[in-house]
């Protein structure tokens, strides 16, 4: 990501630290930059500090130390609240209100006038697909319906920045697809969406950029391409046992690659850690020269899941990288 001015940033955090009263350090000098208008995903194992981070950004939790802004306001400044939308992980809906009344109440909190409020409630019920249930209480809703109501609640004030904490948790596949479409729609409307989810494949599908959080620190940050840049490789599969060809073994080793043999010993695969096809060409030439039958030449990279698991395995010990800027 090229250097961006602070005005283009929805979130600009430098050294955000949160130590709870019981001594637990949830966030440790966390730095993060989220551009306006992008979908940003937050990954991390349980206890990594994801929810604490969102709560700090929405002003629910006070950071112990922080230099940074949310939509240009200092972190924790309640003046920014009316430009934020937040779907909490476990929203508890008021027992005395129906779905329509919940949204009506949110509209009143935003200071919308009666007519404006009514129009917005109707629109949001439609977006959430809850028009038929507007007179029902959210306690009687399925988890997916409650999540959709949560998104509608978060969108009431037409916010610039939307935080979604596990938006597809408990939602069926159809609902997930609808949620993804809704998030993409928000992006098209120019909103910034900050998504925290355990569902890596979903984040992979919708996020422009993402961060992996471990023990309260961002250990990786960037677009999926940027994050998996180092893991780019070419896989060349041939018929026969390459370990019996010392010239090829030597060439592959010089290029930093590895050779693996199938269990039955009839196929071999070379993995070359490069994303440049020029470096693959000499190996292909050598294989042809040795008369090996080429089965496939495939560019490959780590999936988000592999990347995440890699981060978990290493315990986030590798040096934090800011590939985003």
């Amino acid at each position: 990501m090229p250097a961006v001015s602070s005005i283009e940033l929805a979130i600009d955090l430098k050294s955000l630290t949160k130590v709870y009263a019981n001594g637990v350090q949830a966030l440790d000098q966390l730095s993060m930059r989220v551009k306006r208008g992008e979908i940003y995903g937050l990954l991390g194992p349980n206890g990594a500090g994801k929810s604490t981070l969102i709560k700090c950004l929405t002003g629910l939790v006070h950071p112990s130390a922080c230099r940074g802004t949310v939509l240009g306001y200092p972190v924790g400044d309640p003046a920014v609240n009316h430009q934020l939308g937040y779907l909490p992980e476990n929203a508890t809906w008021p027992e005395h209100l129906t779905a329509g009344q919940v949204l009506e109440f949110a509209g009143r909190l935003h200071g919308l006038t009666g007519r404006e409020r009514g129009r917005r409630v109707t629109d949001l019920l439609k977006i959430a697909g809850l028009e038929a249930w507007q007179d029902d209480k959210p306690q009687h809703f399925s988890k997916g319906m409650r999540q959709r109501l949560g998104v509608a609640y978060a969108l009431m004030g037409n916010p610039e920045l939307v935080f979604l904490d596990e938006p597809t948790d408990g939602v069926d596949p159809v609902g997930r697809k609808e949620m993804r479409d809704l998030i993409r729609q928000l992006k098209r409307e120019g909103k910034t969406v900050f998504v925290n989810s355990h569902l890596l494949d979903e984040l992979e599908m919708i996020c422009d950029r993402m961060a992996i959080l471990m023990r309260g620190r961002v250990v990786r940050q960037g677009s999926l391409e940027e994050l998996t840049l180092e893991s780019c490789r070419y896989e060349i599969c041939v018929s026969g046992n390459l370990l019996l060809a010392p010239g090829i073994v030597d060439l592959v080793q010089r290029l930093g690659g590895t050779i693996s043999l199938s269990a039955d010993g009839v196929e071999s695969c070379i993995a070359l850690p490069t994303r440049r096809p020029q470096l693959v060409q000499p190996v292909v030439d050598a294989l042809r020269h040795e008369s090996y039958l080429l089965l496939s030449v495939t560019p490959a990279r780590q999936s988000l899941e592999e990347l995440f698991m890699d981060a978990i395995r290493t315990g986030g010990q590798f040096s934090p990288r800011e590939t985003g800027d």
């Binding site: 002003g59 009316h82 934020l84 476990n90 005395h96 109440f105 949110a106 009143r108």
Partner: protein, 326 residues
Amino acid sequence: MRAVFAIASDTLTLLCRRRLFWLNIWLSLGVILLVASISCSPEGWSVGFGLQSWSSGYLRRGSPWETTLFFGVIRRAVQWWVSGAVPLLALFSMASVVPKTLKSGQAALLFTKSRSRSEVLMGRFAGGLLFAAIPTLVCLIGLFLTLGWRLGVWEWHLFLALPFTLLVFAALAATTVMLGVLTKSASASLVVTLIFAASVIALQDAASRPGEIEDEGEFKGMVRASAGSVALQALAWPLPRTHDLMEGLDRSLNLHSPRLFRDLIRRWRVGKYQVGAAAADAIDANEETSSEPVTPLQLGEAVMVTSGFCGITLVMAAMMLNRRDL
């Protein structure tokens, strides 16, 4: 300000849908009905719309004792039910509002939509006050109509009980709100508020009693302020002036008959038994230890101090809430 109104109205809706609210309303209607069921006839008096009647030579329709009876009963209904039980029941309902608001699932929804946390707290508090006002007003309207119906006296002063009651309730509600923020527990905040209220009432009552009368020498007839009573008054000074407010309310009700209610009770006989004597003795004992009448200046001071107590308590609650992680 719109958000405060929205939260206050939401709080009112929330509280009015609780069973305790309807219990309060139904009990209040019961009290009104009980008072309204008392009547005097040319032969005597009765309760339960004539279900139980007693013949009396002095308590009968048109006699001065009839006014004494109704004025006395309505004064007691205002003092004990309207200003006592009704706000207490309202407090029971209100105690859980702030702790529930602070639970993470609800706090996240509410506090991220409001401009400040104080706004939410003020909205909740204001909603609680409105909530307490409903059964209080229902009772007062009922008692007002009863008095008008039975005696033809339309005593508007009865409605002065509303601000007095709400002021005392506000002091207790502010304490509950602060304790709710501090403990996040409905039962803890309610229990501590009740203990606090009992302590304040006892302290204010003790502090308002006259000192000992000197009997000797040049100080004869003067009130002696002992070190203990000065300390007591200093301790009671910043606390809600429950005693002065209730005294002020009683005096502003304008329900004082030339004949004393306790004398009427003392005369009450069922057959050959003088059942009212013990009750009248209790009232006598209470009257003897009660303080001197509250002056308008004292009443003004009581209103100011109690309002100040509410304000300071709410500011403290807001400060605590602002420092808290939700």
